[in-house]
Symmetry: D2
Subunit: 346 residues, 4 copies
């Protein structure tokens, strides 16, 4: 089996990650690359400086980059487009009949667009038919903001305990800002207590949609109240969240750890190629998780959690970590497409 | 005027910072250095590898290091001793009649020992006479843990609004771990979501004592409930706290910023040499404070605050930053001694 | 005395450093700022994000940025312009009668333009009258590339021993690339063995001009043969050079260290305000100089040297370090202007 | 096939790397761990804090650590012992009949001990019988210092051109100093132009032995004259060497690149499991090799080279990079043992 896929925004940080992750994918094969006019017409290797330790596959290196417009692109396209252009381009692709599996933020909060993590809310795919009313022959599926993926996955198994409120501070990696992103002068041996583009607001809103229930063909947001504070730290990959939560029920710590370690979703049920067998792993060492040691677990698709302890103000506090450009971006998008394939939605 | 001072733990990270800060002090002059037996008898420059950008004063470099025992030491000694030995040594000095101004944690929570920040609770010095009942001819005064200093200073002006609860995550610099401290392998381009020695508990308890009121000759702890999560980040100097607070009164943001910017204490009243004219400075830029840019304000004695905004769970959230080995350790200890001198307690 | 000065390229990395260093200058007072059209008309504080730990002086913050064109600018202008525009703009200023003290590379190798380090080749100012033949009413004086300043200063006292050949590898700080300069993704916990813009060639050619003798109104380049290899390392400020040299005479190590420590130039003779009393300081500790500890010596104007030892291939090897945006850029340019003032050339 | 192996110094940085690399080895199986008395008797997971991103295999985690003494250990033991104890312990093992494949420096320069890189001087194994005269029933084989491996591999194919002299400056990773090794305070955003333990001398002497010819049962050192300057940089893994060489013949650059890319050794001939198909890879991008991008090529066993260009003083200059704890330590030792196995020397 080989399903042809295209990549929108192929020369960017997330675009490169798509190419690296799809290099040996059992189902999907990259046959089309789309980027800005500046890159169009060039061989991919000349259109971008490859910046990942994984080798750029020769076959992709030689491909000619296309203008980011529908037409010759395969039906399934992944989008790592910058949000400044993603809105228009992705809708053009959807209109033309493409399935756009997007990492961009533009359509995430639209009522008829799934904001999807296959382990958490696979049933939100049922929103897709609503998109027909836009006149689209194709569809758009989105994944959450990179840090929201990590945070929402850690919270998902806690819904059973009655999630009420949560306060978190994040320590986010530089790759989350794209490339060139953060200037080295600004972040070397430093902390920046701010991330632009409404990062805190995204955490406070996207999470509720992901954790929400599908009711009458629409998502009823989860009522959790969230307060997010974000910071940038000099780490290559890996967003860390230091979070407190209050819960209606009062489970003991063991019950929470069990909920995390036993958490499985539709991605595991279907044994999707990019799904880690255990999506959440609780680490018992007192000083974990750490980006340098834990971010690549499960090929970067596992979220690690640690330091569960009582919170004197809310109920519990803990630390969660995930790879922001894999689990938090290109990897989760690929998992979304794998899910759609197995659900016969491609 | 020249008051002779000694330094206990002179070869450690905090000891070096004492020496650097006292190099041109208008009142205090270092005339005695105490350290472990391994260093005793050596010239200071041979007993320690000087690790600060500030030059080691020649005069101190040539001084002979003494065993950390009372006797020839001057009446006033600063202590940067490791807590594993500070308990015994500091009490020996107090017993022998010395005034020990200590950065160590051992006596901080003792009922008769001031846990002092001159801007916040200068009146806690009134605890000192109680120490006579220990049979000490001298006294011990302590300053809080490095990150507690920063946090407590940011909270102090909020007491007027009825501080109820606070949740914070810290991002702490490597110098807070002493020397050699954190291995470079562990922290380079990484985050460690843990600091040993009960760091979180110290924040949750010391803060209440500092913010407490003196009543009937004892400190009545402030009733604020605190939940602290600490992390270590690859920054040389500067502990950052990302904090939320709930307040009984509901001041507007402007009132809070005014409370910070107009905050002054006994240190400013007395115009102590190490006191910054404005101990708390609110920065209006959206991405501040940052260690690389703001940590050395006021010679490292100013705490900078930024990003005040509503907290959806508690009332407000903000970011505070202070220099952990100056305002959070050697600098605040020197300020404590300056206060005691002006209050005629030396 | 107060000499008005302007700053071309005021919003860039070197421009900010000019402003910081001139904040309390005894002779020069910034009264004019020039930058690109994008910045012109704005208050300086709105035209640039201030990125230095030193506070932006309020007076400068409020100044309106001008278009980088002569006219209202004072006679003396410092230039931190990018080389892509410096050629045209600086000549326009020179033509209009301004003295341009430039850090840009455009005119450095012109036969009639001094490439100046006041301690090394102050007499090269005698080239200035030649510029009259260009029809310029004003003049241009340049300083070398940032790493060349450090290297040439370390070599200058060795000319007496008959400098023949030198091989060096540099480890250069990120601030040398301007702002935003190097992306954090590229340099965090990494080494880049390359710097664009002909950095190695600049070292191999500018050095010979600086060390050259003035003969018959022109500079006769020093015959030293140089081989430079440059690397970028994750350091904020401070270019390190690991160098070997062969010498015609065979001085012993002590003679070389003496030559460095006793080296003085016209800047010291005239006691120029920015001149460190001892421009070259040899450090005897085996692991020095280091950027983190030594780069700010003498306000960033001192070059530190260490590790002199025999070289099995050439004669000696050693390590030299200097602050690339102070001694290597804005600081040396200010020193050049101070020299010109005292030599009555302004 | 399964050959039992032991690991001396199992709890150290190199010991951990041995365990990680042997986790799925086709021939060797770790069945014995030796360490200091402090660790002996403990389960391995309790005796050491695992510090590698690769997961500690459960099977090894549960093994009991032994005292580092011969007896129950299998015949083949890898040694990652600290040089302060390696001399005595390794000879005890050799005496008792063990084959010690050591990464320690103690026996490297002994006349009867191979200093081995399988691609470069596999025939030096013929020295082994000479060790019988020590009364050893077993044997010791060593690999070079971590940076020497990288450098010697880059030079090996240049021997055909008549290597005469070489000057190099290295930029070495922190993992080369073991654990805890370099304090973070010393190296974060800094460069240390010094490495203890005679690092420069090791480069200047070990290289000549490795590149030497076996004549009459002894190694005749290569006559290359080397001058090494070493620095430590804030990089996790990967030693970079910026080197110049002079050559008797004057090959053009293409011939040199061909010599590197076509270089193969006995390890490739025998298709040893840990041997990369192409041990030296020349990268044509102008800014490579870089630790962050290239250090893990070939599982960390490939040395990457770049930036070949004329050297104005010697003949050519270039940059070489290799993984210091894999190709430069545990990986090359495993390759040495693989070679010995295939040469029937185990």
């Amino acid at each position: 089996m080989s399903i042809e896929v295209g990549i929108l925004g192929a020369t960017g940080q997330v675009g490169q990650q798509f190419i690296a992750l799809l290099a040996n994918h059992p189902w999907f094969k990259v046959t089309w690359l789309g980027a800005s006019e500046r890159s169009a017409g060039k061989a991919y290797r000349d259109a971008t400086a490859w910046r990942l330790p994984a080798l750029l596959p020769d076959e992709v290196a030689r491909m000619t980059v296309n203008n980011a417009a529908p037409g010759a692109a395969p039906k399934l396209v992944f989008s790592g487009l910058d949000s400044s252009v993603a809105g228009e381009i992705e809708s053009a692709f959807a209109q033309a009949g493409h399935i756009v599996v997007s990492n961009s933020r533009n359509y995430r909060m639209e009522r008829d667009v799934p904001l999807l993590i296959p382990e958490v809310n696979a049933d939100h795919l049922k929103l897709l038919p609503c998109q027909a009313s836009r006149g689209w022959k194709g569809r758009i599926v989105t994944n959450p903001n990179c840090v929201v993926v990590v945070y929402a996955m850690a919270l998902a198994p806690l819904r059973q305990f009655g999630l009420k409120t949560s306060i978190l501070t994040t320590l986010q990696a530089i790759s989350g800002a794209g490339y060139p992103g953060v200037a080295s002068w600004d972040i070397l041996a430093n902390v920046i207590p701010f991330i632009g583009g409404g990062e805190e607001q995204k955490i406070e809103t996207e999470t509720n949609k992901i954790l929400g229930q599908l009711k009458d063909g629409a998502v009823a947001n989860h009522p959790l109240t969230i307060s997010a504070a974000v910071t940038r730290v000099p780490v290559h990959n890996g967003h860390t969240a230091s979070a407190s939560v209050s819960l209606e029920q009062k489970p003991d710590a063991e019950a929470i750890v069990d909920a995390w370690n036993s958490f499985r979703g539709r991605a595991q049920e279907l044994e999707l190629p990019s799904a880690p067998p255990q999506p959440l792993v609780y680490l018992t060492e007192p000083n974990r998780p750490q980006p340098a040691l834990d971010v690549n677990r499960g090929g970067g698709m596992t979220v690690t959690i640690g330091r569960l302890r009582p919170c004197p103000v809310l109920d519990y506090k803990f630390v969660a970590l995930g790879h922001n450009t894999i689990r938090g971006a290109a990897g989760v998008a690929i998992l979304n497409a794998e899910l759609m394939h197995r659900e016969a939605l491609l």
